[in-house]
Subunit: 208 residues, 2 copies
């Protein structure tokens, strides 16, 4: 009886959360590679090896790892995400960018304007890019159904309150609506640490 | 004439800022040592050497550096702040705490309850503490005059909006009023990176 009660309570809490809040995910540093760069770094005809699916449908973590290098230092063991993209893009935190000795701009994923050059290497090869390094701008992926529910539209700027041991309200959060998305907010590890992120963290959209 | 105009404009802007906003300072990892620990780490009768004053009156950075170590790693070259305190206290960011392999609690400076044990060492000696490691809770130092101006009181919890390239509103910010303080907000480097902190960053207190 007690077990049943717990299960019911848990399910109700889960559904209420889903109605009023969105999930938060912290993204670690990662690299999206073009097919050309995959061949330069891993060999001719090489294809990426899927390790596990990510929350966004069609996106996956690969077993391949690379080293990224700037004028002040290198970061080893950076994960490659698949599938391949048209252009190679390296996403790091501001902490990482400082340790590389670079002042990477804060950009929306996919917008490589004004991003910085960076060296990517493996034991098989290296590429020196003239652009691609960025700090990803925090954002919300949202389905059209959830966009309607939360009354937001594509490219709208909202505030998002993250609850937890270090609560804060992220300002200037861009909303991206797409029917292929799963609804959640993406922040980097600087932001995750600043808000005391855990896997249970939830967030509330605040209309400006 | 143009120079005079610029100077006047700059001064007016500075004064307006001072009226409506507070300054923000990012605190790096640091150690406050008791006299006993100073002797254990640097030798009998040793006294700390002041390098430069900090913004809070009476507080200073010392030339002494220590290494702090946890189960997963060490951080070298951690600055010692003076003067000595009754109890040794080690303040790190959540990023640092993870790299040490420890889950340090977020605490108000001076409150060592539930803080973690940590090893501190130099080339002259080492101490193994059973408490003292914390992540400092973000806070505002404020003079009684400014507290009146901003309508806040000691231990009040407020929100603080930080302006800049990555604007956000820190929630749950504790106000500490003391006539010996200089008015400014203290955050750590995770929080600094999350809000795109620069030395020009300013913040506005929002009453809850």
């Amino acid at each position: 009886m007690q077990n049943l009660l717990n299960e019911v309570v848990e399910e109700v809490v889960k559904r209420v959360k889903r109605e009023a809040f969105i999930e938060v995910e912290a993204s670690g540093r990662h690299v999206h590679l073009s097919e050309k760069e995959v061949e330069s770094l891993f060999g001719k005809g090489y294809t990426l090896t899927k390790l596990r699916d990510l929350s966004q449908p069609g996106q996956y973590a690969c077993k391949e790892r690379v080293t990224i290098s700037g004028p002040k230092g290198s970061i080893k063991n950076v994960i490659v995400l698949g599938p391949c993209r048209k252009e190679t893009q390296v996403e790091v935190s501001l902490t990482d960018s400082s340790s590389l000795g670079l002042k990477a701009p804060i950009k929306q994923s996919g917008d490589l304007n004004e991003t910085l050059g960076i060296k990517i290497s493996t034991e098989h090869g290296e590429v020196i890019l003239d652009k691609g390094l960025m700090i990803a701008k925090r954002h919300i992926h949202i389905t059209p159904q959830d966009a309607t529910k939360f009354d937001v539209c594509d490219n709208e700027i909202v505030q998002v309150k993250v609850f937890g041991c270090r609560p804060l309200i992220f300002d200037d959060v861009v909303v991206r609506v797409n029917e292929n998305f799963k609804t959640n907010m993406h922040i980097d590890y600087d932001e995750a640490n600043a808000c005391g992120y855990t896997k249970e963290s939830i967030a509330k959209i605040i209309k400006k």
